[in-house]
Each structure stands twice: as structure tokens, then as C-alpha cells.
Symmetry: C2
Subunit: 628 residues, 2 copies
């Protein structure tokens, strides 16, 4: 009890300091931090922001669904006309490609997604899986939006299970064309963004058969509407109508009835069919080819994750500025309350952590080294899930911390979080994404052979470890390793009890399935360990003047993630009661440092450093709530 008592007294002193505005004040040079946060394409990003000053991009929450869709198309056309980038950058200069699109979500998420479907999913697929013929035939029309594109992968019956899609593409040797068919309603292409009204071409995933031989999913560029917007013969599209948000995007459901596609329009970078019906591929197995075909989703996931982090940046900027200026019950700003700090400051630290982690991932994507393929797969899956699940929670907290003001559309948080709610299940359901991370770890036989990790000795945090990064680093790494060892152990034990290879594999898979909740925790633990380690690298890389603030955020990130998993650490014996008290005391101290100074506190400066321009921030309460 001694240490609890000590922690409690320390807290009281700290609380008095904070209340009196005497806590250590952290100075953050907003301009310098902003510079450090933007890794690439600064001028391009600024140019996009400047362009978005155009009145066309001002929110209009009064209009009905059909008007909003038309407005989104008009907005996209004007953006495209600026020629900030080309679809070819998808492969030639991925950083530029990503940078040009990232800013759009601050204007409107529907616009960002409509652009993302067209450029990233459809355009990127043609750029990556197509060859010179397709590039010449389609990319100019995609660059000027005369050929709005869709991405026909998901089917009604097959969302997460892409390998199981049922749309067929049969090669007709006589005619030299593929015949695309939707064999049943469950095989209809579902959720196809941009296909409801505007799309003219679609990158269609279908099971290819050549000469009666099945070759697995391949991609075909299918014309779905003609130049004047009329449906092509054999193509039936049902508008999917209103959604809870993102209503500027026209999603549709597509059926194909003997639609003929020229032989040349199969994307053939990795596989092709000759005129006489000979199938050749540089990748021999169906499953490996499948991996290549769906691998194109990576850039989309990076953009979705990045959008999630940017959405939180905006929400935090609004909520923290408001919290530091809004008073209630006298002159006390609401940001003074622990409950407010505990809801807004850990997400602030997490946002920095995820921003840097995604920066690292973008570097890997741009580097295009074969050796990074696995890391790219793991990080794009795990960070997509962590960033978007984190966004759901953080934006809801931001909205609540603004009270009713957070519900008002003009303050942006509310409508943006509604639009973005889609991000946890599209481009890969988050539960499945976290499984991808865990599978990669469970497949690492060398790591598993080292067995369960040693339990860090409890008491490290209360002995001062809560204020240094070493102790928290080993705790984060321990959780990842221990959870992997736990699931791997159960899978191996189940296999041991079964007879025969097939039964062993089935028993192991069943053990994986019944630990699916732990599997998802592995994904989280892995991303947390990575984000923190990467954050510490960024602290080293940063200019000296920024290091105190960044180190503090890295520490808050780690402490708040450890607090989330206290039950795990306590049960494992890696943390004891005194550590729990020390953790709380250390966290409250960090809150005090971040909020000291009222409206000029470090927390506000760290939000301002995100660099969201006023005309895109918009929210009246982020400026002067008394003048709403």
C-alpha cells in the first residue's frame, strides 16, 4: 500500500500544479513539427489544399442524395482537371500518387473515396496488372475522367473470401473473346463503388477457364456503359441506394449475361491467353497468382488507413481546441477534467504513432523491394485495422467531448465519422486484417521454435520504468510474443492429439478458430509493438528541439496501450499493483504536461502541427465557440 499512497500524494501535488497552470510546460514549434510530419511532396500537398479553397468544395448538408452524388462527380472532375498527378504514378511514383489523393478527405470523404475507387482500385489495378496495351487504351481516359472506373471484385456471396468468387470468364477461341457471366444472384458484383450511375469501365474479377481448364481469378477490363452513359448489352446494374454515409458515392450491383470482352482486355502482366487459346503465366500455381491479383489492394489499404488517421487528426484538432477554450461551471476549461484528458490525449499520441508507422509503410511501398513484400502485407493489413478501429473510438470520443457541438454538421466531426464508418469493413474486414497479421507471426517457425518468451519482472514500472521507454518496450514485445506462443501452443497441442496429416491440419485450424479473439489481440499487440518501436526511431531522427514532445507522445502511446491490456499483464505477472498505480500517476503527469497553458498548451500545438488549413478545418468551435 505504501507505493499506492505515494502515488496518490504525487497525484495530488500534480493536480494542484495543473489546476494552477504550473505544470511543466512543453513548448512545441508548430511550424517545425509540421515540417517533420510531412514526409514527402510538400508542394503538391499545399497545392491540393490551396485548390480546395474553391467554393465548390464547401460542405452542403442540405441536399438530397441524388444531388450530392452529382456534386461529388462535378467535384471530382474539377480536381482531375488540375492534373496534380497521373494514374501512372501508381507504379511510377507511389508517394506522389498517395499524396495527391490524401488531402481530398479533408474536403469530403465521398470525394476521396470516389477518387480512390477510380484511381487506386481501378486505375491502380490496370497500371499494375495490365501492360502497355491497357495503359495506352485506358489510362489517358482515366486521367481525364472520360472513363470513370470501378472495381468489380466483391460479390454478394463473397466478401472476405475473394478466392471463392463465382463470376466466370470463359475463353471463346472461335471469337477470340472472353465471355463473362454471373451464374447466380450470389455471384453478382456487390458494393461496386461508382457503378450505380457514373462508371464506364470496370476491372472485373472472374474465374478464368481456357479450353475447359480452370486457372483461378483473373482481371478483365469490361466496358459497362457506353460514352453516353447507356448500359452495355448484357450488363445489368442495380443502384444500391442510400447508405448511412458516403452518399456521394454511387454504389451498384452488377450482373453479367454473356458479356463479350476482347481477348486483349484481360490484364496480362502475370498471365495471358494467346489467340489460339493457350494459357501462359509466369506464376505457376493458382494460389500464388491469386496472391498477385489481390495484392493490388495494398495501396488502397494504405490510403484507407491514412484517411482514418487524418480523420482523427481533424477531430482531435477540433475537440482539443474546443476543450481548451470552452468553460463550464465558472472559468475552468473542460480540458482540465481528467475524464476529458483521458479521452482525447491517448488518441493524440496514437495518431502520431500511426502517422509515423504509415510513413514507414509508404516508404516500403515506394521502395518496391521483393524482400519487403511480407512486411508490406502485414503492415498494410494491421495498420489498416488499427487505424480504422482506432478512428471509430477516437472520433466518437471527440464528438462526445464537444457535447452537442460535436453533433452539429458545421463542426465536421459528426458527418465525417458517419461517412468514414465504412472503413472498418471495406478494403478488408478488420477482423480478417488482424488475422493476416497473426497468421504471418504464426507461420514464423524460427521465432516459434524459441518458445514462450520470459515474463518481464513485475515492479519495473513502479521502479521508475513508467518514465523511460525500455520497460514499456519490453512489455509491448512480451505481449505480442506471449499471445503468439499461446495460440501456437494450442494449435500444436490440438494437432498432436489428431491422427494423420489432414486431421492434424484440421485440428490445428480449429484451434486457431476457437482462439480467434486472441488472434485479433495478436494483431493489435503486434501493431502496438511496431508503432512504438518505429516511434522511437522517429524521435531519434527528429530535430533536437522536437524530441521532448515526440518522446513524451511515444511514452504516452505505450503507457495507454499497456493500460488497455492491464488484465493480460496482471494475469501474466508482468505487472503488479504498484505498477498499476505508477502507470496511472505517470499518465496523469503526461496529461498535465500536455494541457498546461490552456489554449496555448502543447496539446493544441501538437494538433496545429497536423497542418490542416483553416478552410478545411472549418468547424466554428475550433476557432471561437462563443461566435458560432
Amino acid at each position: 500500500m505504501a507505493s499506492t499512497q505515494k502515488a496518490s500524494e504525487r497525484l495530488e501535488v500534480l493536480a494542484r500544479q495543473v489546476t494552477a497552470g504550473q505544470a511543466t510546460r512543453l513548448v512545441v514549434d508548430t511550424k517545425e513539427m509540421k515540417d517533420f510530419l510531412v514526409h514527402d511532396n510538400k508542394e503538391l500537398r499545399e497545392a491540393v489544399y490551396e485548390f480546395l479553397k474553391d467554393d465548390l468544395y464547401r460542405p452542403n448538408h442540405y441536399q438530397g442524395l441524388m444531388d450530392f452524388r452529382e456534386q461529388t462527380l462535378v467535384r471530382l472532375k474539377k480536381f482531375v482537371a488540375q492534373k496534380f498527378f497521373s494514374v501512372r504514378d501508381y507504379t511510377n511514383d507511389p508517394r506522389r500518387f498517395i499524396a495527391a489523393l490524401e488531402g481530398l478527405m479533408y474536403a469530403d470523404y465521398s470525394l476521396a473515396i470516389k477518387a480512390g475507387v477510380h484511381f487506386t482500385l481501378c486505375g491502380g489495378t490496370i497500371a499494375k496488372l495490365g501492360t502497355a496495351y491497357h495503359h495506352a487504351k485506358y489510362l489517358p481516359g482515366m486521367d481525364d475522367l472520360t472513363l470513370p472506373g470501378c472495381f468489380g471484385m466483391t460479390e454478394l456471396g463473397h466478401g472476405s473470401n475473394v478466392m471463392g468468387i463465382e463470376t466466370t470468364a470463359v475463353y471463346d477461341k472461335e471469337a477470340g473473346t472472353f465471355i463473362i457471366n454471373t451464374p447466380n444472384d450470389e455471384a453478382s458484383k456487390y458494393w461496386i463503388g461508382g457503378s450505380g450511375q457514373h462508371g464506364k469501365i470496370c476491372a472485373v474479377f472472374a474465374q478464368l477457364s481456357v479450353g475447359g481448364q480452370w486457372q483461378g481469378p483473373h482481371v478483365f477490363v469490361v466496358r459497362i456503359r457506353d460514352d453516353s452513359g447507356r448500359l452495355m448489352p448484357g450488363v445489368r446494374i442495380q443502384d444500391q441506394g442510400p447508405k448511412m454515409g458516403l452518399n456521394g458515392v454511387d454504389n451498384g450491383r452488377i450482373w453479367f449475361d454473356n458479356v463479350r470482352v476482347p481477348r486483349e482486355d484481360m490484364l496480362d502482366a502475370f498471365a495471358s491467353v494467346s489467340r489460339d487459346g493457350t494459357y501462359t503465366s509466369s506464376i505457376p500455381s493458382v494460389s500464388q497468382r491469386f496472391g498477385t491479383v489481390v495484392g493490388g489492394l495494398t495501396t488502397g489499404r494504405v490510403l484507407i488507413a491514412s484517411g482514418g488517421v487524418d480523420g482523427v487528426k481533424l477531430a482531435l484538432t477540433v475537440a482539443i481546441r474546443y476543450g481548451c477554450s470552452r468553460t463550464q461551471f465558472g472559468d475552468r476549461p473542460i480540458m482540465d477534467y481528467v475524464t476529458h484528458q483521458a479521452r482525447l490525449l491517448p488518441p493524440l499520441a496514437q495518431t502520431y504513432a500511426l502517422h509515423f508507422a504509415l510513413g514507414h509503410l509508404k516508404g516500403l511501398v515506394a521502395g518496391r523491394r521483393a524482400a519487403d513484400a511480407k512486411a508490406i502485407h502485414v503492415l498494410s493489413s494491421g495498420l489498416k485495422a488499427a487505424a480504422t478501429w482506432g478512428r471509430v473510438e477516437a472520433m466518437q470520443d471527440c464528438r462526445e467531448c464537444c457535447g452537442g457541438m460535436g453533433f452539429l454538421s458545421s463542426n465536421k466531426i459528426g458527418p465525417l465519422m458517419t461517412d468514414m464508418n465504412v472503413d472498418v469493413t471495406f478494403e478488408g474486414d478488420n477482423t480478417v486484417m488482424m488475422q493476416q497479421v497473426a497468421r504471418a507471426l504464426l507461420d514464423d517457425k524460427a521465432a516459434l521454435a524459441r518458445g514462450a518468451p520470459a515474463v518481464p519482472a513485475a515492479g519495473a514500472l513502479s521502479a521508475g520504468g513508467a518514465s523511460c521507454s525500455k520497460a514499456v518496450q519490453s512489455l509491448l514485445a512480451f505481449r505480442e510474443q506471449a499471445l503468439v506462443a499461446q495460440v501456437a501452443g494450442e494449435m500444436a497441442a490440438a494437432a498432436t492429439r489428431a491422427d494423420g496429416a489432414a486431421a492434424k491440419a484440421a485440428a490445428s485450424a480449429a484451434a486457431f478458430d476457437r482462439n480467434l479473439d486472441v488472434v485479433v489481440s495478436i494483431g493489435w499487440a503486434s501493431m502496438e509493438r511496431f508503432c512504438h518501436a518505429n516511434f522511437l526511431q522517429e524521435v531519434k531522427r527528429a530535430p533536437a528541439s522536437l524530441r521532448p514532445a515526440l518522446a513524451l507522445l511515444a511514452q504516452l502511446y505505450a503507457l495507454s496501450r499497456i493500460q488497455r491490456s492491464l488484465d493480460f499483464y496482471l494475469a501474466a505477472g508482468a505487472i503488479n499493483r504498484a505498477d498499476v498505480a505508477a502507470l496511472r500517476a505517470a499518465t496523469l503527469e503526461l496529461y498535465g504536461t500536455l494541457t498546461a497553458g490552456g489554449p496555448r498548451c502543447a496539446a493544441v500545438a501538437l494538433c496545429d502541427s497536423f497542418g490542416i488549413p483553416d478552410h478545411l478545418l472549418q468547424a466554428p468551435i475550433a476557432f471561437d465557440w462563443r461566435k458560432v
Copy 2:
């Protein structure tokens, strides 16, 4: 490790049973359960549901904001014309009043809230704080909606702090009228539902001065628009425009400039001003009078909490039916996965727990016994917060568990959760509501005098306690008591260290403030303990055939709440590692029982028992996802 191993093997057996559909199947008689869940006014509720079959109440997500508002008014008018109830029932038959309004949210939350503001907040205030004069003058026009009413309490600068409102009402003896003024922009009435376009009267909260003497907040019925809808002289209203949801409700901001209100229009059940300017009240102190004036929010909170629970009922019915029929990766329904079960089944148990708890609270409200006043205050505050915070999380999980289908408006979960997002901060911010619960417990000197509670011995759950209710009951009670003792101890210690009464009070208040996160946990712990104890009473009260299912849900509710606070129990030593494993095994066993039988499983039957009629459920995926 022995017990962990044992638990793990047990799990495996269980998992095999579930997969093979061999787990104990729980039979639930849907009709009987439905009957048991509806405590009162069955015929009235059925009549409202039947009425809502009218095409006017079919969702239309295509329209723009202004059309939606008009449609909401037309919907309300037609509902009102049915005369299902009268505003007078607010005091005469509160159960009837609540029952008539509760069903509306299944049709549309904007309609429910527009009705709630008019009938509950404005009408209820006039019914309760007014006298015969006001009842005769206003209630007929409220009953037939010729006098749409608003509730003018909140001001821009004063949300949670109602006592601090700045609108003034000065009695002018010469004219025999009150003069209502908005002294500054922060004193403008803010968020006033129904005032943006349609409201004609407003129950305005203002600081009363009579003969230069301040008497605290009182309520005045102010005419804000004339019969033809033109603003009254001195009244200025700004339409607050679009919100993230609930756009059928026209919120407005109101300023009063020397608005004259006849002396008779002050609601005078507890205080009145005579023609010659003599102020009299049956309640001597300003603070007690204030309590009476704002006490009228209770029914509103009951309705909001009830709406939150009903929203989850709808979302669970859709998500669980879909989860049990939707297959992926072969014929396996997605409800088979632990991750799916862990997201949907604890909320199912919680929904039953909260439904019964609110039933108990409605009984107290209807009983109107003075001795219940404190319990009503605590429960209406705490259940409002628990129900709406629980709703945010449960509906998000339901939406995610439906994948993209949950994002589609036609499946209802998405738009409903967006509309309802307001409920966590209106009618009392949830953080403040939980504080109310904690304050009541911290004020209970007799209970505090008994000191910190004894720590339940760890090991109870692994010794079989996870399957009986005694062990979990004592754990839930322990947490509430221990947290109260902790905060009370810190407050007392802080006071001891200060000198003088004022300093002691300030030190105690500061200790309360810096433990605000623990204070909120007290609110949760208290509601959980109450909901579980009340649930056990309902199990006893239930027909024998329903008891197995209800007892299982009560147990799942308790176990899942204990799992939420594992860090607390582990740190306190009330639970050990073996208990954690036993808890997990017991929970998974309950999941297995609830989901055995696929689409005919108990979980589906327990949703069907909520009795939401098909025409209000609507969601295509709740019926046959293949035919969307």
C-alpha cells in the same frame, strides 16, 4: 498451469460440439418471452405498431434536410391525430405516456425526438410545474399539435450547468408582466429542438427577479411564434441547420429582447408571483427549488435510455439473424466464429438486463412515492448513461458484424445509430450522469462508515463459481463498494490535510475531480450491480419455462461485465489466473448454448422475443440476405 490446460481442453470439446451443432440447445418460447418482456399497455403498444404500417412512416433516405423536416412534422401530426394518449398522462398515467411514445423510434428517431420534445419536455413540464390555468390554456393545443412546444433550458454557455443560465425574467409590477431577456450571446437558448421552424410555445428557463430580489431559475411559457408561424415581437430565432443525424428535428437558437410574458404564464406549482409583486414558494431555498425545476427531466431520461435499449434490440435482431444465416468460406455461418459471438452475445445479455432495469425504474416513476425520489434520480441518471454508452458500442458492433450490409440504409442499423448518436450527450451528458450516481453513493455516510469492503477470495470462479450467480454477485457488489471507498478515502484524506472548513471542502472537491475517471467507473459499477441483482429478481418472477434462458442471460451479463473489469479484479486480488481461464471457458460455453441450432438457435429466438414487428424491422438481411 493445470487449470489453464484443463480449461483449454474443455474449450476444445465445447468448440467441437458447437461446430457440430451438438451443444446443449436452449429452447425459448418466443411468444411467452415477448409477453413477459412487455410490462404494461400491451394493447396500446400493438395499436401504435399497427398504425405505423401506414406508408407515411416508411423510411425515405433520398430526401434533403428541409423535406425531411416537413415529413417529420406531417408524421407527427398524423400520429397525434390518433389520440393514443394525452399530455395529461405525463402525470396521470406515466406508463401509458411512455408506452405511447416508445414505439415511434422504430419508425424514425427524429419522429420520436420531435414527439419527445413536444410532449415530454415541453408538455411534461407544463403538466408538472404548471397548474390548472396552464393545463387549460396549453394542454389541449399540445394534444392536437396546434401549439407545437419547445423546451428552452440549455444556453450556448451553459449546458451541463443549468443553474448557471443567464436568461433573465424580471417582474414588472406596473404592467403585471415578466420581461424576458437574453443578456448576451452566451445566454441565447441553444439546441432548442422544434424551435428552428415549427415551435409556437417554449418552456423557457430564466433567472427570476421580483422587486430586485433574485429567486433562481423558474419556467415561463413563452409564445415564440403566432398562429400563422410568424415570430413574436422581441423573439429572434436562428435555425441551427444540419446535424450529423436526427435531421427531421428543427433545432434552433433563441434570443429574447424584452419579451413580455403575462404574470399568469409563469409555471406556478411550486412558486408564484402575486399581481402586486410578492414572491411565494412552498420550497424555501433556491437550490431545492432548482432541484424541483430540473427534476422534470427524469421522464425524458427514461425515454432516452429506453430508446437506446430499443435501438440495440433492433440492431441485434438484424445482426444476429444475419449472422446465423450468412455463410462465408463454405457453409459455415459467420455467427459460428468466436469473434462474432463475443461482439453480439454480451450486448444481447446486456439488453435484457437494461430492459428489466428500466422496467423497474418505470415502476418507481409511476409509483410517485417520495421515498423513491433518490433511487429514481440515481437510476434515471445511471441507466441513461449505461444504456446510451452501451448502445454506441453495441450498434457499432452490430453494424460491423453485418459487414457492408450494416452500412446500407435499408438495413436500418446505420442510419439509426447515426441519428441516435446524440443520446450520449443530450438530456444530461453521460459523464455528468455517472457523476450523479457516484455523488449519491459518496453522500451515503452510513455506508461509507462501514469502510472498505472485504476482498472476495480469489479462486471462486475457477471452483465452479462462474456457473452460479452467487460468486459473480459478490464480485459486482465488491467493485462498486471498493471504488466508492477508494474515492471517499482520497477525498477524506485530502480534507484532513487542509485547514479550515472551506479549504477542507475545496480539497475534498479537488480529490473528487482528479479521480473523475474512477468516479465514472463507480457509476458503471453501480449500474452493473443493480442490473444484475434486478435481473435475478426477474428470473424468479418469470414463468418456469423462461427461467433457464433468463438465468443464462443474467449469468452472461455478469460474466461479460466482470471480464470488462478484469484489471480491477486482478489488481485487487479478487480474481486469479485460474479464474480468468474459468471465466473465458464459461463465457464460451454460454456462447455455444446460445448459438447452437443455427438460424433456429436461442440467440435468434431471444431477439425475436423483443417483438419488433417485421414492418418496423424492415432490414432485408434480417429476413433473407440472398434476396436483398
